[in-house]
Symmetry: C2
Subunit: 256 residues, 2 copies
């Protein structure tokens, strides 16, 4: 069994600016993973990336109970990022389902995730704040970039309401075009993906609703700044919708 | 919260041939679900479908501890099936992961699922048989068709080896074209989805490997009867690959 499909060496995320010859300490959690989980010692060859697109080979120079250090070696080829920088504005789902959404859209290549509270969300912005959910999603995203081989760590934006997302689209502080995914039962006119320009845009925003769907009024309001899309006639699991929509959009835009 | 996104009434799966006015007993499991979980009684309006594309409104005529019966009413409009009848030949994954694959590819609209054992599968055909895994996947598929709104229950084919799948493709007893999903790291020439004919075929077979991927030799053997496709440069979770590939192919074929 291969632990790391994308290569033979373990990958560690160490934010910052560094280059060949630098010796750097690993963050605590990465050091624990190196020495206690993977049981690597001095001399082991690993990979390190800074979450901003730089990746290097590195050699473990210290691995003790109190921490680990590596010496940066040659730059390493990175997995290229998708041409379309997609922001996924996703309604926060129930329980831990949002963790799975974050994990999967990071794996798909999302540039940023905008957690959102909508009319039918079963959670409030203050509750997300109290639960330190954004920090949790940042850890989930970091774990996912390591697994999927990306060298770029997508940003988790501070949770906001759908209204704020609509405002941001109006002010073009979120990428355009914006596409709102509506349910098969939504009584509204939608565009086929074939109607979308096949030339990939530089940026895009995808809006995905909660388990209970959007209200009619939400769809109407968003339609002023979004195109409405639908993915077939079957009802999709709420936590799989973003992944499926990204796959479809990437295909339309020649990414696959 | 809406329990059934695809409509207001609970849906029950009752195989067989029946029509308006017929009074039929629900299978035990469906009867339990009706009376104990949903707590429906005589007079409740429900929906019933036979798994072969027929769906009806129905009225509960009996709901007791020992069983439940319904009287079939008018035919009900069904969710249309995808134009391309896709068979998903999927390597059996570890633990319960295959349950999730079955659930999700049924939701996506797969016509059939062909469980497969490959070189890097961590399970054998006799072990699948002893574990009654096919029967389990049939239950998962039945549950998924009810949730996603389909009126057709996809077949779960008896598990076979990859060699048998390749033979079946050669003898055209599995739908063509056949597409084998290979990993980003696979050192082989793949086709872009844009190279596929955009006219939807009537049938198609998608081959998806296990967690550890295909062996080089497996890819070479399959390449005689399959086109190789790849979905971006990021390493995808094994249990999400089929869903992502179906979304991409459906987009290419104008289904979305």
């Amino acid at each position: 069994m291969r632990l790391y499909n994308s290569g033979v060496h373990a990958r560690f995320l160490v934010p910052g600016t560094y280059g060949r010859g630098d010796e750097i300490d690993l963050p605590d959690e990465e050091a624990r993973h190196l020495s206690r989980v993977l049981r690597l010692g001095s001399g082991a060859v690993v990979r390190v990336f800074n979450g901003q697109g730089d990746e290097f080979s590195a050699i473990v120079t210290r691995a003790t109970k109190s921490g680990a250090a590596i010496r940066i070696d040659a730059p390493h080829a990175t997995v290229s990022e998708p041409r379309v920088a997609m922001t996924i504005a996703h309604a926060v789902l129930k329980g831990d389902k949002m963790d799975d959404v974050v994990r999967d859209v990071v794996m798909m290549g999302a540039a940023a995730i905008q957690p959102m509270v909508t009319t039918r969300s079963e959670v409030t912005l203050p509750a997300l704040d109290r639960g330190h959910r954004r920090e949790r999603w940042e850890r989930v995203a970091a774990s996912s970039v390591k697994q999927c081989g990306r060298a770029v760590l997508p940003r988790i934006l501070p949770p906001v309401s759908l209204d704020e997302v609509i405002d941001a689209l109006r002010r073009v502080t979120l990428g355009q075009p914006a596409l709102m995914l509506v349910e098969p039962s939504a009584n509204t006119s939608v565009q086929s993906l074939a109607d979308l320009d096949s030339i990939p845009p530089r940026e895009a925003t995808l809006l995905v609703g909660p388990e209970g769907g959007w209200t009619t009024e939400e769809v109407e309001r968003a339609a002023a700044v979004c195109r409405l899309i639908r993915l077939g006639e079957r009802t999709l699991r709420a936590d799989a919708m973003a992944t499926i929509a990204i796959a479809a959009l990437f295909t339309r835009w020649g990414e696959y």
